[in-house]
């Protein structure tokens, strides 16, 4: 794809020493990276640890990222390599899992076998994700035609503002505003589900 990388502005900020810009990329890609790792590693407990390791390795290697590929493609490769490395270590040393090695200081007296399932796998968590998915779909359906088309062309088709402006026959500024208003409208329906705990922790 010849289209410029959507993450280029944030990557540039990170290269100039802005750690927060990297956190923004983490918030953006954490779900996709965890799903990718989850497909490679069977133990759900290991997935967040390997994802953490992936982002740390990416952060360290970022000065060498030249933008030859999209940032996400590059991050994806790091995730695959990190997961492979963890699987190899597990094969070599099957009893010591990453999470155990990370040191759960406080539960030293508990036997290691009772690995409680992570929140990604509990029925509550599954229900919460389902609710989020249906809230998003419901909110998209409720949008006006203009807003729905703009957000769909952007998020599903991956078109640039310029391409969407051409398709919708309107100025780029209008595209920007429609996408923003669509996001706000959907987020308004999503917020009660997302802010289940202390909402100011982000």
């Amino acid at each position: 794809m010849n289209a410029p990388d959507v993450d280029a502005p944030l990557v540039e900020r990170v290269k100039q020493g802005d750690v927060k810009a990297f956190e923004m990329l983490v918030v953006k890609y954490q779900r996709r990276i965890e799903r990718l790792i989850g497909r490679m590693v069977r133990d759900v407990d290991l997935v967040p640890d390997i994802a953490q390791e992936t982002f740390i390795r990416a952060y360290r290697a970022l000065p060498q990222f030249r933008g030859d590929s999209a940032f996400y493609t590059w991050l994806y490769r790091i995730a695959v390599n990190t997961a492979k490395k963890s699987l190899m270590e597990l094969k070599r040393d099957p009893l010591v899992t990453e999470s155990a090695r990370a040191g759960r200081d406080e539960d030293d007296d508990n036997p290691r076998v009772e690995n409680e399932p992570s929140d990604a796998a509990t029925p509550d968590a599954v229900l919460a994700s389902k609710q989020i998915a249906s809230a998003v779909n419901f909110a998209v359906e409720a949008l006006s035609e203009d807003l729905r088309q703009a957000i769909t062309l952007r998020e599903i088709e991956g078109l640039s503002y310029e391409e969407i402006a051409e398709l919708m026959n309107c100025p780029i500024g209008t595209v920007r505003s429609r996408i923003f208003r669509a996001r706000e409208a959907i987020a308004a329906r999503l917020r009660p589900l997302l802010d289940t705990r202390e909402g100011d922790r982000w």
Binding site: V6, D7, P9, L10, E12, R13, V14, Q16, G17, V19, K20, F22, E23, M24, V26, V27, K28, Q30, R31, R32, E34, R35, P48, A51, Q52, I56, A58, Y59, A61, P63, Q64, R77, I78, D119, A120, A125, A128, S129, I132, A133, V136, N137, V140, E155, S160, Y161, R176, I179, F180, R183, E184, A187, A188, L190, R191, L193, L194, D195, R201, W202
Partner: protein, 210 residues
């Protein structure tokens, strides 16, 4: 919902940044606002969940999990040395970009000239070691002249590599690279040979990543 126009446009800019449609100056402002404002961070998360779910419903993960993940990673990032890439300065305009690109060639040209002068002088000193110092001892008699020339040979040869070293350390490095290497000295095994080892280490990470 009462939305003041300033706050609204900051949000709209952040939305544009999410799509990679914001210029460098706007990105800088937006990132700073994100770092300051917890509400903007919550928006940023919500918008990306929306995008993820629109593309694939199984990406709708537990929001509590997302927050924990990011909080944990933030702690780990705080322990990391700040990343600084060698090339970028604040690219405010396309002009600045071109300036940056032009600079290495200017330095290369200066370096080439310096190296050329060194080469000529060095060659001269090596090929005709006796005559140069001898000429400086003008009007001296023969034994003095010979003594001067024998002494003169070795300083001339020693002097030749000296300017080359200066070319290596000063002219071919630019100030930004210098700062980068300074910042990453802790990665390099040795400070004197910081240049190659810093890059060697990075290359290992990079190739592992690919």
């Amino acid at each position: 919902m009462a939305i003041d126009s300033v706050g609204d446009s900051a949000k709209e800019r952040l939305s544009a940044l999410a799509d990679g449609e914001l210029d460098p100056a706007g990105s800088t402002t937006s990132c700073a606002a994100w770092a300051r404002d917890a509400a903007l961070r919550a928006d940023w998360h919500a918008w990306h969940v929306i995008g993820d779910v629109l593309r694939s419903e199984d990406l709708a993960s537990n929001p509590g999990h997302d927050r924990d993940f990011c909080a944990k990673l933030r702690l780990r990032l705080q322990a990391e040395p700040v990343v600084l890439a060698p090339a970028p300065a604040i690219a405010k305009s396309a002009g600045a970009r071109f300036d940056r690109r032009a600079r290495p060639s200017r330095w290369t040209a200066a370096g080439a000239v310096a190296a050329g002068v060194v080469l000529v002088v060095g060659t001269f000193a090596v090929v005709r070691p006796g005559e140069w110092p001898a000429a400086q001892v003008a009007g001296g008699d023969a034994p003095v002249s010979i003594a001067a020339s024998t002494v003169g040979v070795s300083p001339a040869e020693e002097a030749a590599p000296q300017p080359v070293a200066i070319v290596d350390s000063k002219v071919f490095r630019d100030a930004q690279l210098e700062r980068y290497l300074e910042a990453h000295k802790q990665f390099a095994g040795t400070s004197a040979l910081g240049v190659p080892s810093a890059f060697l280490r990075s290359a290992t990470v990079d190739s592992a990543a690919r």
